[in-house]
């Protein structure tokens, strides 16, 4: 019996993730901004077999309301066994380089709002003394590159925040899982040319479930990204700064 909270439930990875847990023992609470998609997804998960499916329509850029949101989630579910934070945007680097206001908005959503929610959740999980907090970060957060460093720095920040949280909660029987996907076919990447390294969101979702069962700390998905990022991290900065990445 698991009670699952999904923040950013209309994200393609989150939707596939939610499907994997659909059975009569489990209950799910979906939080997302787009009410139409939320309704369809909630209906779908209900048919697929959750004992209870509820949803809250919420704009994650509204950071002041984060405390209230988490309180409301706890009231709805009672306790939380698994929380997945999956919302986010992928800004166009060229656009945000020229527009600081736009950049601010992106950082606010992709970093501030996530860590504020994490802070609220961590304090409650600390009392609860069990459960899993999983956040979708990105391989882009492992090293800054000219093509993607605003998004990358937000994701890198999330990864470090999660590291600290993992350290803080190590004695509390709580899993802090940082998910670092590579290229995933989702609405966020609709405008990209797809190649051999691309995978569907269902593959990422299955990997996250496996990592939760194995109590992993950090997940590179698909697996080969661990090797790719190992190489990328090891390139000396003197060389890396001249590369077109």
């Amino acid at each position: 019996m698991s009670k699952i909270l999904i923040l950013g439930a209309t994200s393609a990875i989150a939707e596939q993730f939610a499907r994997l847990y659909a059975c009569s023992e489990n209950e799910v609470l979906l939080v997302a901004r787009n009410a139409d998609s939320l309704e369809e997804i909630s209906q779908d998960l209900n048919v697929r077999g959750y004992s209870k499916t509820s949803s809250i329509s919420y704009d994650f850029s509204d950071v002041e309301k984060a405390t209230n949101l988490i309180k409301q989630c706890y009231e709805t579910l009672g306790n939380i066994d698994i929380v997945l934070i999956a919302f986010g945007t992928l800004p166009d680097q060229n656009e945000v380089s020229l527009d600081s206001n736009a950049m601010h908005k992106e950082i606010l959503l992709n970093y501030n709002s996530i860590v504020i929610l994490l802070n609220e959740l961590a304090n409650l999980f600390e009392k609860q003394k069990n459960g899993t907090i999983a956040v979708i970060s990105s391989v882009a957060g492992d090293r800054g590159r000219q093509s993607n460093y605003v998004y990358g720095s937000a994701k890198g920040g999330i990864s470090i925040f999660m590291q600290g949280l993992r350290n803080r909660l190590a004695g509390y029987n709580i899993q802090i899982l940082t998910v670092k996907p590579g290229f995933v076919i989702t609405p966020m990447t609709d405008s990209f040319e797809k190649g051999l390294l691309w995978v569907g969101p269902d593959k990422i979702a299955r990997d996250i479930k496996k990592a939760i069962n194995k109590k992993k700390d950090v997940l590179y998905t698909p697996w080969f990204w661990w090797w790719i990022m190992l190489i990328i991290r090891f390139i000396p900065e003197k060389i890396f700064k001249k590369m077109k990445l």
Partner: protein, 433 residues
């Protein structure tokens, strides 16, 4: 919205489309459609019914949600982008099954409606369209039509087998059947020639729900393996073979599949299977043996391939078959895969439905340019003279004459076609309609 390359199962050169990928049903909008559009599901039709080169298309990959399930009434409602593989994983946990299944599970529900697909049980239950309770159709003028046998009946009949041209299918409600488990009891019989094969279809008709035959077109006379099956009874569970699925990651070099490798494969396949063998296996391994190899179409290499599937009345089949064999010999083309099925007498629902009483033969040919096309034209004449039809879902080249001949209700159909919807296939065959 952006330009992306799309292709179909025949794996010909991919063509640019301005794709619109709606995130949910309410997000579907026609405001960005420039001249014409068509729905694209999994791209499992072989030719160009799902393509609209240099135009728009609706990629339905995210419209893959279940809407309602009624266990007692045996009904499921889902969005048109739901993939059969996923639907069956859900249904078999409830001991339900779709009434009709095609030979791959990688197709969408919308695609199965639009091509009015058939399965190995046509002789018992008809085609996919015979088991649709209702569907919702979004027209480009914004109207949402509830279509069934009682409501908007003409749109219902135009949409089943309507090649996606009557509007965007949003949701479909299917009538399900009860099963006791996920297994099929299978009997396989090696056949020494076509006559024995046809006799087996007649003999097993009454006792077996599913019948199908594989043909080795290199042997003389053509040997084959006839398989028949029924849903197994009792509380058993068959392990699905999904665990060892393989993917062909890129197009194979063109020399890989040649007459020799294909002959060797056919011989091995034939001798490996036991004559009169009985077996109980998962529904996946019975219905979808090729799904174990994802993108097997890439084995043909970048030239791609054609499938030619036709149906002719029972009494015409043997003479048509002989003529077809002669034409293949004359054009010296290799047939890499051939499958024979028997259609029963149940009438299809759709105005443009392909299934009709008779025998249907499907043959895969590597694309050899003009030589292939000339050979297909020769096939067309034989099929038309016998009062038969050619299957659009498998087609990439039929002329408007052949289309009109195969589907005499096309004029009636065009009254219900949506003006904003078009495909490369339709542009080719619509002249004079």
């Amino acid at each position: 919205m952006k330009t992306s390359l799309y292709t179909s199962w025949g794996n010909k050169k991919a063509v640019p489309h301005i794709a619109i990928t709606p995130a949910n049903v309410s997000a579907v909008s026609f405001s960005d459609v420039q001249h014409s559009t068509i729905a694209y599901g999994q791209g499992r039709s072989y030719g160009d019914v799902c393509l609209n080169a240099n135009g728009n298309l609706f990629d339905t990959q995210r419209l893959d949600r279940l809407v309602d399930y009624d266990h007692r009434k045996n009904l499921i409602t889902c969005q048109s982008g739901v993939i059969l593989r996923d639907l069956l994983l859900f249904l078999t946990t409830k001991n339900k099954f779709v009434s009709v299944s095609p030979g791959t599970s990688q197709v969408t529900v919308g695609g199965m409606v639009a091509n009015d697909v058939h399965g190995k049980n046509h002789h018992k239950v008809g085609s996919f369209g015979n088991h649709i309770h209702s569907l919702t159709l979004l027209r480009s003028d914004g109207r949402i039509l509830e279509c069934s046998e009682d409501e908007n009946t003409e749109y219902f009949k135009a949409t089943i087998g309507g090649l996606g041209l009557t509007g965007l299918i949003l949701t479909v409600t299917l009538r399900l059947k009860n099963v006791e488990n996920n297994c099929i009891e299978i009997k396989s019989i090696k056949t020494k020639d076509i006559n024995q094969m046809l006799e087996l279809f007649e003999e097993t008709d009454a006792d077996y729900e599913y019948t199908v035959s594989w043909l080795d077109m290199y042997s003389r006379p053509q040997k084959g393996i006839f398989s028949c099956g029924n849903h197994a009874s009792g509380e058993i569970k068959c392990s699905s073979s999904a665990a060892w699925k393989k993917t062909i990651p890129i197009n194979a070099p063109e020399w890989l599949l040649n007459r020799l490798t294909n002959k060797v494969f056919n011989q091995l396949y034939y001798y490996k299977s036991n004559s009169r063998a009985h077996d109980v296996a998962s529904y996946q391994s019975f219905f979808y043996p090729l799904d174990k190899i994802e993108y097997w179409n890439r084995l043909y290499g970048k030239r791609g391939f054609y499938q030619y599937q036709f149906v002719v009345p029972y009494e015409e089949f043997l003479s048509v078959y002989t003529e077809i064999l002669n034409i293949i010999k004359q054009y010296d083309q290799p047939v890499y895969l051939a499958v024979l099925k028997k259609f029963g007498e149940i009438k299809s629902m759709g105005m443009l439905s392909f299934p009709r009483a008779g025998y249907t033969l499907a043959m895969d040919f590597p694309s050899k340019g003009e030589a292939s096309l000339k050979m297909f034209k020769a096939f067309d004449l034989v099929v038309m003279n016998a009062g038969g039809a050619v299957y659009p879902a498998k087609d990439a080249r039929m002329s408007h004459d052949i289309f009109k001949h195969s589907f005499p209700r096309v004029e009636e159909f065009s009254m219900y076609k949506d003006n904003l919807f078009c495909s490369d296939f339709w542009r080719r065959v619509e002249q004079d309609v």
